[in-house]
Amino acid sequence: MPEKYHIKTQPVPPRQPRIGKHGVVDWREDCARCHNCVKKACVYDRYRQEADYIRNLNDVDALFFECMGCFSCVQNCTKNILCLSVNPTYEKLGNKYWKPDIIKTTWLQAETAKIPVSGAGYRGPFSGHGFDSMWTDMSEIVRPTRDGIHGREYISTSVDIGRKPSYLSLNETQSVAGLPPLVSIPMPLIIDLSSPAHTLPKLDAAIEQTAGDTGLIAIMDSRYRPADEANLENIAFYLGPDSPPVPDAILKKTRLVEIADSPAVAKRIQEIKKIHPQIVVAIRVELTAAGIGRAIELAELGEVEVIHVVADANGNELTAQKPRFLKDMIRQIHTTLIEKGVRDEITLMAGGGIALPEHMAKAIICGADLITINLPLLVALECHLCDSCQPGSPCPARLEQIDSKYAVGRMTNLIAAWHDQLIELMGAMGMREARRLRGDVGRAMFFENLEEETFGKLFGTRKVAL
C-alpha cells in the first residue's frame, strides 16, 4: 500500500482586513451612556478589541467586518441604536458565478487549511445551476474504513495521467511490450496556467513551490524556469502555438507537458516523445462549440494520451450564445468515449469553473479523471476577483506585494482543505479510490432525474427550465 498522502500545513493569516458578511452599524449620537453597554457582552469580544483596530488606520473597518451576525448586541441595546446589516463590500466580492460565499470560504480554507464547519443546517437554495444541480450519494452501511475517514486505513486520492492500453501485448521475449508512460499524482488536481491578467513572477514562483510541496503538477508557461530544478518534476510546460521551445535538457526532467491543439498534434507528440520518450503529453482543447467533438476526435487517435478540456472561468462553453456547462460537457465527452470503446485508454482533465472542492468530486463523477484549477489559488491569496487587473489599477489584494511564505502557505492550505473535503465526500460514498470515482454516476443524484422520478410522475411536465 502506498504511503499515506499528507499535506503539511500551518495557519497563514490574511494580509488585508477580513471582509465579513455582516457588520453592526452603531448610531453613537443617541447613546444613553447607560453603563450597561451590550457591547461588553459580545461573545466574540469584537467591541473589546475596538481600540486595537482604531490604532491601526489601515484596519479601521476590520471591526465592522468581523461581526459574526448573532444580533445579540442589537437586540439588547437599551436605546435600540445598533443595526446589523449585510456588508456591501462583501456583496461586491466575486461575480455571478464566483459568489461572495465562495470567496469567503476559500479565504477561510487558505488561512486555516481546515474544512469549513458550521451549524444550523444548510442555508442555500434547493438546487442551482451547474454543479449545484447534483448531489453525491452516501452509503448507510458500506464504507472503506472502519476507523473513520482520517483513521488508520485511508482513502487513496491518487490518479494516473497518461494512456492506458486496454490490453497488454507481449513481445518476442514474452515480456510486456511498449507500455506508455504514466504520471501518478497524489490528488486529482493540477494547477492550471494563470491567465495573462494574473501573471506575476512572484506568483509563478509560489505556484512552483506549492506544486513541489504538495507533490502535484503545475502547468507553466514554456518560458518559465524554476528556481529549484528539483521542482521540474512538478511542472508541466505549456507549449502554445507561439511558445518558445523548452530546452531539451530541461524538458527531460519533467514528467508531463501540455501542447495546444492543432491539426498537427500527432506530429508534435512524436517530436516531443523523440526528445523524452517517458514524458506524457496532454493536449489542451478549448471547450468552444467544436470543443467536445474535437476532444472525442483526439481520443480516437492512437497517439493521444491526455486531453485537457477547458471551459471559461465560470465553467461555461466558450463563445456560445447558450453555453453548456462544464459538468454536462464532461458527461457528454465521457459517455461518447465509452460508446466508442476508448474511454479507459485516455486521461481526461477538465478545467474552468471548478470553484469549490465539491466541484472537483462532481466533475470526476461526471467523467473527468482529474480537474485543473487556477482561480481558487488566486482567491486563496485574498484576490476579490474584481476583474480590474489592469496595469496601473490598484489591486485590492495587493498581489504584487505577496511574499513566498505567505503565498505558498495559503495555496498549500487550500489544497489540503480540498483534499480533506474530497475524502469526506468519498468516505460518505463508501469509495476507497479516487480512480474508481471517475464516471461513477451511480454515486450521484442529478436534479433532473430526481425531479422527474418524484415530481414529474405526480405533477406532469416541468414548465421551468432546469
Binding site: I115, F126, M138, R143, G442
Partner: protein
C-alpha cells in the same frame, strides 16, 4: 408500575406533568427584530392621535410621561395598515410618522429560513397563535426555490365536508407492527429531534422534553447520553443508540418507550457525529465518559453492522433489554433509501426515520450539508411508494426530517407519504435562534441555545423555553387543523400519501389523479 413488562426499569422516578396551556412568552431580548420600523420625527407634537388609532400597540406613552417611548416596531404590520383605517402615518396631523421596511431585515434569515419564516416562528412561539395575515409574513414556505417551497395544496373553494376543528384528529400511532408492544400514540404528528447534551444546553434539552410532555409527544436525547434531569420525563423521551455509544447503558435503554438507532444524520450523511473539543466541557465529558476538551467523533457506520442481519441483531438486543420499547431506525437519504427502509422494517423496526440531506441542527462540514444525500422531499415519496409496493406500508411508521420548518412543511411531508415528522431547527428558532450558524465556534451558540458554556446557558430560562415550545406546537397544530379542515379531512392519517391534493409551481399539474 405493576403493568410494566419484565426487563423494564424498576427504578422509575415519578413522572412530571406539564400543562398544555398557551401563555404569552415574549422575546427574551429587549429589542425584538421587526419587519418594519416606525420613525417619529421631531415634528411630533405628542397629540396622541397615533396612540388612539393604532390597534396593535405600536405606540406607547407611559402614564405620567409627555413623550412617547421607543415604538414597539415588531408589533407594526407595516404599510398594509393603510387599508384598515388605523394607519397612524396617514392620520398623524403633523406627518411626523414614517414606516419603512427594516434595513436589518436583509441580514436575517437565508434561503431556507427566510426572515419572514423566522419572525413568524418567533411570533407563534410568543403567542401560541397563527400570525395574523395583517403581518404579511410569508411563512408557509421559504425562498429555496425547490422542494417544499414549490409545493402547494390544492385547496377547494369550499371544503368538501364541513368539519369542526374539534372533530379533527392530529394524532398518529407509532407502532403499526401489532407485535404486542405498546400502541404508542402521539397527539401531534411530530416529535423533537435528537440534540445531544453537549451540542445543546440542558435548558434546551429540558425545554424540549417538557414541551413533549405537554403535547404528549416525544423528544430525543441525541447521542450524548441521558441526563439525570431528563428522568422525570422518561415517558416522552427517545434515547438514541448511535455509533459512538456515548452514555448508552442498559439502564438508559430501559427508561424509555422508544429507542432509536442512529445510522446517519442529514447534516452529515455518512460522516458520523463530531462534537468539537471546545464543547466537551467537564459536564459533557462526565456524561459521555470521555476525556475533557477533546473532539469527540462518532464513527460511521456502526462498527458491528455490515448487513441487515447485523442490524436485526442490534434490534433484538434492545428489544430484549427493554420489553416495552419500540424501535426507531434513523437513516439518511442515499439513492437506495427505499431499500434501506424495507430492510429496516424486515429487521424488526417500528419506525423508519429518514433524515434528508438538508437537515441538521449541529455543526457539520459545509460540504456535507450542501452536497451529500438527497433532499427529504424526494426521499419521502420514494420510500412511501416502495414500502407500499412491498406490502408493508401499513406495518411500519415512516417519519421524515431534514428541513421541516413549519406546519405547512409537515402537512406537505405527510401528503407526500410520511406518517409524521421530526423537527429540530424550528424548535431552536422558537427559542431565539437567528441561524447565525455559529453553534460550533468557540464557546458555542451566542444565543445560549446550542452551548454548554455556563455563562451563555444562563441566557435562557427553563419555564420560558418550555412555554415557547408549547406555544409553537399549539400554533402549528392550529395551522394543521385548518389545512385539514379546508381539505375536508378528518384526520392527519387521512392526509398520508395524498399527493393528489398537492401541486408544484414549476409543473403543468395536469396528471389525472389516480382513483
Amino acid at each position: 408500575m405493576n403493568t410494566l413488562p419484565e426487563n423494564t426499569l424498576k427504578t422509575r422516578v415519578p413522572q412530571e406533568k406539564v400543562d398544555r396551556i398557551v401563555k404569552t412568552a415574549p422575546s427574551r431580548y429587549r429589542n425584538e427584530i421587526a419587519k418594519y420600523i416606525v420613525h417619529r420625527s421631531l415634528d411630533c407634537e405628542r397629540c396622541g392621535k397615533c396612540l388612539e388609532v393604532c390597534t396593535h400597540g405600536v405606540h406607547e406613552r407611559k402614564p405620567g410621561f409627555e413623550y412617547f417611548g421607543e415604538p414597539n416596531h415588531h408589533l407594526c404590520i407595516g404599510p398594509s395598515c393603510a387599508n384598515n383605517g388605523h394607519y397612524c402615518v396617514a392620520q398623524c396631523p403633523k406627518q411626523a410618522l414614517q414606516i419603512r421596511e427594516n434595513p436589518m431585515y436583509r441580514a436575517l434569515g437565508d434561503c431556507r429560513w427566510s426572515a419572514d419564516l423566522v419572525l413568524a416562528t418567533w411570533k407563534m412561539a410568543e403567542t401560541g397563535e397563527v400570525p395574523s395575515a395583517e403581518y404579511d409574513y410569508n411563512y408557509e414556505c421559504g425562498d429555496s426555490g425547490g422542494g417544499f417551497d414549490k409545493l402547494r395544496f390544492k385547496f377547494p373553494d369550499r371544503p368538501p365536508v364541513k368539519l369542526d376543528a374539534n372533530q379533527i384528529d392530529t394524532s398518529i400511532s407509532l407502532n403499526k407492527r401489532k407485535d404486542g408492544r405498546p400502541e404508542v400514540k402521539i397527539d401531534v404528528p411530530w416529535y423533537g429531534g435528537g440534540m445531544s447534551f453537549g451540542s445543546v444546553s440542558n435548558v434546551t434539552q429540558l425545554s424540549k422534553a417538557r414541551a413533549a410532555v405537554a403535547w404528549n409527544t416525544f423528544t430525543c436525547t441525541g447521542e450524548g447520553g441521558y441526563m439525570e434531569r431528563m428522568r422525570p420525563y422518561d415517558d416522552h423521551v427517545i434515547t438514541q443508540v448511535a455509533t459512538g455509544l456515548f452514555g448508552v447503558r442498559e439502564e438508559t435503554i430501559q427508561r424509555v418507550p422508544i429507542v432509536e438507532f442512529k445510522y446517519a444524520q442529514g447534516a452529515k450523511p455518512g460522516l458520523g457525529g463530531h462534537l468539537l473539543g471546545d464543547k466537551n466541557t467537564p459536564a459533557v465529558a462526565r456524561m459521555r465518559e470521555t476525556v475533557l476538551g477533546i473532539s469527540l467523533f462518532s464513527p460511521f457506520p456502526f462498527h458491528s453492522v455490515y448487513s441487515i442481519e447485523d442490524h436485526m441483531k442490534h434490534i433484538d438486543w434492545v428489544k430484549h433489554v427493554n420489553r416495552r420499547a419500540l424501535i426507531s431506525t434513523k437513516v439518511s437519504t442515499p439513492t437506495d433509501v427505499d431499500m434501506v427502509a424495507v430492510g429496516s422494517y424486515s429487521a424488526g423496526t417500528h419506525i423508519v426515520h429518514i433524515d434528508g440531506g438538508y437537515g441538521g441542527t449541529g455543526a457539520a462540514p459545509d460540504i456535507a450539508k450542501k452536497n451529500i444525500a438527497m433532499p427529504i422531499e424526494y426521499a419521502i415519496g420514494k420510500v412511501h411508494q416502495f414500502l407500499a409496493a412491498e406490502g408493508v406500508r401499513d406495518k411500519v411508521t415512516l417519519i421524515a426530517s431534514g428541513g421541516i420548518r413549519s406546519a405547512h412543511d409537515i402537512a406537505k411531508a405527510i401528503a407526500l407519504g410520511a406518517d409524521g415528522v421530526v423537527i429540530g431547527t424550528a424548535e431552536l428558532v422558537a427559542l431565539g435562534c437567528v441561524r447565525c450558524s455559529l453553534c460550533a465556534s468557540g464557546r458555542g451558540c451566542p444565543r445560549g441555545i446550542a452551548t454548554t458554556d455556563p455563562e451563555l446557558c444562563g441566557k435562557m430560562d427553563l419555564d420560558w423555553g418550555t412555554q415557547r415550545l408549547v406555544n409553537l406546537y399549539s400554533a402549528w397544530r392550529k395551522t394543521l387543523v385548518e389545512i385539514l379542515q379546508r381539505l375536508g379531512l378528518r384526520s392527519v392519517a387521512e392526509l398520508r400519501g395524498r399527493t393528489d391534493l398537492l401541486m408544484h409551481l414549476d409543473y403543468t399539474n395536469d396528471v389525472p389523479a389516480k382513483k
